[in-house]
Structures are given as structure tokens and as C-alpha cells.
């Protein structure tokens, strides 16, 4: 049966269930044996509940996989030590954004161990000495068809990084990188809630309330609708496709 007929049938079944409850009350006491119609309804309810929970509770976690970052990097420690963000995340002169720093940025200070933190030891032995780039898992990596200009948003839009990335600057640990098994998209991009409803991406770390003057509880979801909505809100214009696509 094609899905359309199934839909009619289920609609019919729903009726039956709803109809059945109100009817049962006021119509004349039904002759024995007429309770038989309860069998399909019970079967229906059983099927409904089982698959409903299957869809909302059991399957979603399987859809997403989790990976740990190669190194448990602490932003807080580095911001305190280095003092600013531009050391690692800066604008190149052609306006492009450097994004995640390369190994040579880390190697500038971490040529030899500066503390006894095992993570730093791991950094030096596994990456700096062999000169292998750190395979960071980027939470906000957009799909290949998306062009995102940090210059436009940070320089022109004067937006604060936390708006999209959440208060990652104050984090002491890196949260696990969750991604969709099928599409390999980070969960930050396509929405934490399986229904795509935007949800607080940062809540998983159960971050204590920090004192920064930007009161941002969570990272905004970075899906197409959010960008479009923000553009409509901020620039009041319906953007052409090529503004964000390439």
C-alpha cells in the first residue's frame, strides 16, 4: 500500500480511536461481543507507542556519533597566559580568516614543555616533534557549498564571536565533537535536537555561569534558516543565494 493510502487508513484509524471513546459513553449499552472492535484499537495503540518512542528516544542517539578532540585544549588557560585571541584567530591581510591556528602557532611557545600537564606532553611528543598538523575536529565547519565571511560578520557586522560559537573562549575543556553519522556534519551545524529545533549547543558541557559581560547561554545553531533569519532581522533584506553559497 503506497504511503498515501496508508495515511488515509491511519487517519481512519485515528477516527476510530477518538470516535470510539466518546461514542462508548452515551450510546445504548452495546450488546456483548461488540467489544471486539477494541482489538484493532489496542493493536494500533501498541504499534503507535512503540514506534513513537522508537523515533524520539531510541534512534536519535544512534544517529549521532561522538569523537574526542586530539588534545583537551583549555581556552581559559591560554587566554589568561596570552592575553588576547588574535594570537591564534586573526584576519589575514586579504580579509580571509585564519580559523584554527596551525601547528607553528603552538610551536612558537610549546617548543619544549612549559608545565607538567599530560595534554601538553602529548602535544609535544605526538605533534610538535614529528611536525604533524593537529587534526582538530572543527565544531563549526560548514558544508562545502557554503561561503562564510568572518570579515563581513566581525568587522562589518561587529558581531561577537560568542554569538555563534558560544562562550568557547572561557571553556576549560573541549567538549566532545558530535557529528551525524550519515552526513558527517557537526551537530552544532545541523542542530542538537534531532527535529532540527535549535537547542543550546553548549549546554552539554553544563558550563557554570561565567562573569563575562556577554550574557550568552548557548551557541546559536548555524543552519541555513538561522543565518537567513538573522540576516532578515539585522539587514532587513532577503539575501541572494550567492551571498552565502559558492
Amino acid at each position: 500500500m503506497s504511503t498515501t493510502e496508508e495515511k488515509e487508513q491511519t487517519v481512519a484509524e485515528n477516527e476510530q480511536e477518538k470516535g470510539g471513546d466518546e461514542q462508548a459513553a452515551e450510546v445504548a449499552p452495546v450488546k456483548p461481543g461488540t467489544w471486539r472492535f477494541l482489538i484493532p484499537i489496542a493493536a494500533f495503540a501498541l504499534g503507535f507507542m512503540s514506534h513513537f518512542s522508537l523515533g524520539w528516544v531510541i534512534l536519535p542517539p544512534i544517529l549521532y556519533a561522538e569523537k574526542q578532540q586530539p588534545i583537551d585544549f583549555s581556552h581559559k588557560l591560554h587566554v589568561d597566559e596570552v592575553g588576547d585571541c588574535e594570537g591564534c584567530h586573526y584576519f589575514r591581510e586579504d580579509g580571509s580568516f585564519s580559523g584554527i591556528p596551525e601547528l607553528e602557532n603552538c610551536a612558537e611557545c610549546h617548543e619544549e614543555a612549559m608545565g607538567e600537564d599530560p595534554e601538553e606532553a602529548k602535544l609535544i611528543t605526538e605533534y610538535i616533534e614529528p611536525g604533524k598538523e593537529i587534526p582538530w575536529l572543527i565544531y563549526a565547519r560548514q558544508p562545502q557549498c557554503v561561503f562564510f565571511s568572518h570579515a563581513a560578520h566581525v568587522k562589518m557586522g561587529e558581531m561577537d564571536c560568542a554569538i555563534c560559537h558560544g562562550p568557547i573562549g572561557d571553556s576549560d575543556h573541549v567538549r566532545p565533537y558530535q557529528y551525524n553519522r550519515l552526513t558527517k556534519y557537526s551537530r552544532d551545524i545541523w542542530g542538537w535536537n534531532i527535529a532540527g529545533l535549535s537547542k543550546n549547543g553548549w549546554a552539554y558541557l553544563k558550563q557554570a555561569d561565567n562573569s563575562g559581560e556577554i550574557k550568552i547561554e548557548h551557541a546559536a545553531r548555524m543552519k541555513m534558516d538561522d543565518c537567513a533569519e538573522c540576516h532578515m532581522e539585522k539587514r532587513g533584506v532577503h539575501e541572494a543565494c550567492f551571498v552565502c553559497h559558492k
Binding site: 503506497s2 498515501t4 493510502e5 488515509e8 481512519a12 476510530q16
Partner: protein, 416 residues
């Protein structure tokens, strides 16, 4: 029909009718199974290997598939028009054929959607046409109305299923069928509204292309004249197709299924509509030559390249247009069954040719002065995947004819 020799599934047959032995039924299913499988292979090749398996190319993005799509839906117009005549214009006799028209409609619209499924380059993204619809595009309108009207046809087909002898025994389904029959006029009205639009917007598909002087037509508001011409030609040809298929089914079943007067009503109506269409079509052709000339494309340029010579214009309007019109208008000619069927065949091929011209020839005619004329021929993959839906339709019709009460007059015409 004593129970000893009756086929073992006779319990499912509608009351008082005879059907062939089950093994014959299986035999014919097996026969149809062959070309069906070839079509499925062709479809899987298109999906698996990408569309280079066809003879389509960058000059011919539209080929047999789109022409067949438009043709099949035009032929499927019999469903909505017969429904319109039966439920809204209230011609009582048509109730004997409206069921079969609905079955043919379901088959045609399923075929159209199937062909689109194979034709588009990324079938997985087919739902984008609904999710990110561009309301100004004719193709969006076509897609919306075809899917909605397919739902309407399924709802109209649904009670027929419920009236199967065994299913009808269940009280709820019996009641459901009964009430659906009651609601049929409103459903048919919704169907007519939908069909009016998508038959038109299928005409709009070539008509709005102002980059192609051959296909472009001015119009009324946003709808080019081909919008109205396509509707008119569809309802002129739909009933003929229904008559044709009924005749074929009678030949296969080897018995009379519908009274002659029902066929005659349909033939008369489609004859008149065909004449109206021919008049408007010639007017449109004259007007089209004028505006195309203004845009710098003389009429000769449209027919300068073989095989699309002037014979195309003459055959489409002349042989496949005027002759069936004459036959269908003449009462005596309509009585003679063979002549009627010939008229129906001519009418249907005429509509198919018109759709082929408006899609494939529209692309064949060069537009830039340094464009070369390139001819196109479908290859077996395109034929097989298009015909697959015809065989699928035949299977559905066989099943419906065997188990569902399609023809009310059958018992009357073949007293056992």
C-alpha cells in the same frame, strides 16, 4: 458459473461476472513481467549510472520523457473530464464509465510521476520542488497539482477497492465506500480545479520560454495561450483515450463492458471540443507567426531543418486533427465501431505529437544565428523506462478488472 470449474480466486470476483482461469491470468502477468523488468533495469541504469545512458544532451535537456509525461497526462484528462461530466454536469449514463476513467487516471498520473522520478538528475532531492517551491515557475505548479490530483484520484479509486466482494463484507469498509460515493461530487470538483491548473501549466511549460521564439506565446496575465490550448486539447482527447482503452479492454476480455450510448456521449463531446480546439489552435498559430516574426525569427526558420519540415504543421492540425473531428461529429460515423476507434487513435496520436512538438521541436529549432541544428532520437533506455509505466498500468488495470466492480453494466450485458 458452477463453482467446480470457476477459478479458485472466484470469491474475490464482483457478483455475477465470469473471469478467465487464474493460470491464464498469471500467464498474462508473466508476459507483462518481461517488458516491465526491462523498464526497471533501464530505470535502475538511469539512477545508478547517471543520465549519460540516454541520448539526451545539453541541446536536448528535454526528450522523450518530458514529451511522454505531457502526453500521458493529456490522455489521463479523461478521468477528470468524465468525472466533471458525471458529477457536476450530471450526465447520468456516464456513471457506467467513470469508474474505469478513474482507474485510467490513476495509471496515467502514477506513470507521469514515475517518469519524472527517472528523468530528474537527482531523484533523492525531488522533494525540493515542494520544500523550496518557486511559485512563479510553471513546473512547480505542475508538480503540486499532479501530486494533489493523484491523491484525489486515489481517493476516487479507494471506494472501488473497498467494493470488492470480500472487503465489502466488513461493515466499516462498506460504510466507508458508501459515504465516499456520497462525497464523490465534491472530490470530483476538487479534481477538476486541480486538473484545470496543471493541464494548463503543462502548456505553460513551453509557452513561457521567451528565449525560444518557436515555443513562446503571449498570454493573459501570467498564463500563455498554450495554457488554455493545452487544457482544451487535453479535454478534447481525454475521453477518446478512455474510449480507446475501454475498447482494448473489451477486446482482451472478449465481452461487452459498456453500452454503446455511453461511448457515444463521450465521443460526441470530445468531437465538439476538438473542433473548438482546432479553431483556436489555428488562430494561435497565425498570431504566433506574427510575434515570432517581430522577434526576428521567420516562420521558415522553424521548419527549415529536416526532419521538422512543414509536414509537422500539416499532420498535427490536418490529418490528426480535422479527420478525427469530422468522424466524431458525424453521428453515423460514431456508430461504426472501427471508424470510431480510428478517430480515437488519430486524436490521441495528435495530442502526443503536439506535446512532442512543444517540447522536443521547441529545443531543436536553433535560436542563435550560429547555432547548428542537431537532431535527437531517444534510445532504448528512454523507451523502456517510459513504457515500463504503461506495462505497470496494464497490470493495475488487469487486477482492477479482475477483482473490482468497475463496470456496472457488465452483468447486464453478459447475462450468464
Amino acid at each position: 458459473m458452477d463453482s467446480a470449474s470457476a477459478p479458485f480466486d472466484s470469491a474475490l470476483f464482483p457478483e455475477g461476472v465470469k473471469r478467465c482461469k487464474f493460470k491464464w491470468f498469471l500467464f498474462w502477468l508473466a508476459v507483462l513481467h518481461g517488458p516491465l523488468m526491462v523498464g526497471v533495469i533501464a530505470m535502475l541504469m538511469c539512477w545508478g549510472l547517471a543520465l549519460h545512458v540516454t541520448y539526451l544532451n545539453n541541446n536536448y535537456p528535454f526528450g522523450l520523457w518530458i514529451a511522454a509525461d505531457l502526453g500521458i497526462i493529456a490522455l489521463g484528462a479523461g478521468a477528470f473530464f468524465t468525472g466533471f461530466l458525471r458529477y457536476i454536469v450530471n450526465i447520468e449514463e456516464l456513471k457506467n464509465i467513470v469508474n474505469y476513467a478513474v482507474v485510467i487516471g490513476v495509471v496515467c498520473y502514477a506513470a507521469a510521476q514515475g517518469i519524472l522520478g527517472v528523468d530528474i538528475g537527482q531523484p533523492l532531492r525531488g522533494w525540493f520542488i515542494f520544500w523550496h517551491a518557486n511559485v512563479h515557475s510553471m513546473l512547480t505548479e505542475v508538480a503540486f497539482c499532479i501530486t494533489c490530483y493523484f491523491m484525489v484520484l486515489c481517493i476516487e479509486y479507494f471506494p472501488l477497492i473497498l467494493e470488492n466482494r470480500q472487503i465489502n463484507k466488513l461493515r466499516f469498509f462498506h460504510g466507508m465506500a458508501h459515504h465516499l460515493h456520497g462525497a464523490m461530487p465534491t472530490i470530483a470538483a476538487v479534481g477538476v480545479f486541480l486538473s484545470f491548473f496543471h493541464q494548463g501549466s503543462l502548456g505553460g511549460v513551453p509557452g513561457v520560454l521567451y528565449g525560444r521564439p518557436f515555443a513562446y506565446r503571449e498570454g493573459f496575465l501570467v498564463w500563455p495561450w498554450t495554457f488554455f490550448l493545452f487544457i482544451l486539447s487535453a479535454i478534447a482527447c481525454g475521453p477518446c483515450f478512455t474510449i480507446l482503452v475501454t475498447w482494448i479492454t473489451e477486446k482482451c476480455a472478449g465481452k461487452r463492458l459498456v453500452k454503446r450510448n455511453v461511448i457515444d456521449i463521450l465521443a460526441k463531446i470530445s468531437g465538439r471540443l476538438l473542433v473548438l480546439y482546432l479553431v483556436l489552435k489555428t488562430l494561435d498559430t497565425v498570431y504566433w507567426v506574427a510575434i515570432a516574426g517581430k522577434a526576428g525569427a521567420p516562420l521558415s526558420s522553424f521548419y527549415a531543418n529536416q526532419p521538422f519540415g512543414y509536414w509537422v504543421l500539416i499532420t498535427e492540425l490536418g490529418i490528426l486533427g480535422v479527420i478525427p473531428a469530422i468522424i466524431l461529429l458525424n453521428a453515423k460515423a460514431r456508430q461504426n465501431e472501427n471508424i470510431l476507434i480510428i478517430a480515437c487513435i488519430l486524436n490521441c496520436t495528435g495530442i502526443f505529437m503536439n506535446r512532442w512538438i512543444m517540447t522536443v521541436q521547441a529545443l531543436a529549432v536553433p535560436v542563435m544565428s550560429f547555432d547548428k541544428f542537431i537532431s535527437y532520437r531517444p534510445n532504448w533506455v528512454e523507451y523502456a523506462s517510459t513504457l515500463m509505466f504503461v506495462w505497470l498500468g496494464a497490470v493495475v488495470i488487469m487486477l482492477s478488472y479482475r477483482y473490482l466492480p468497475i463496470f456496472p453494466q457488465e452483468k447486464e450485458l453478459n447475462p450468464s
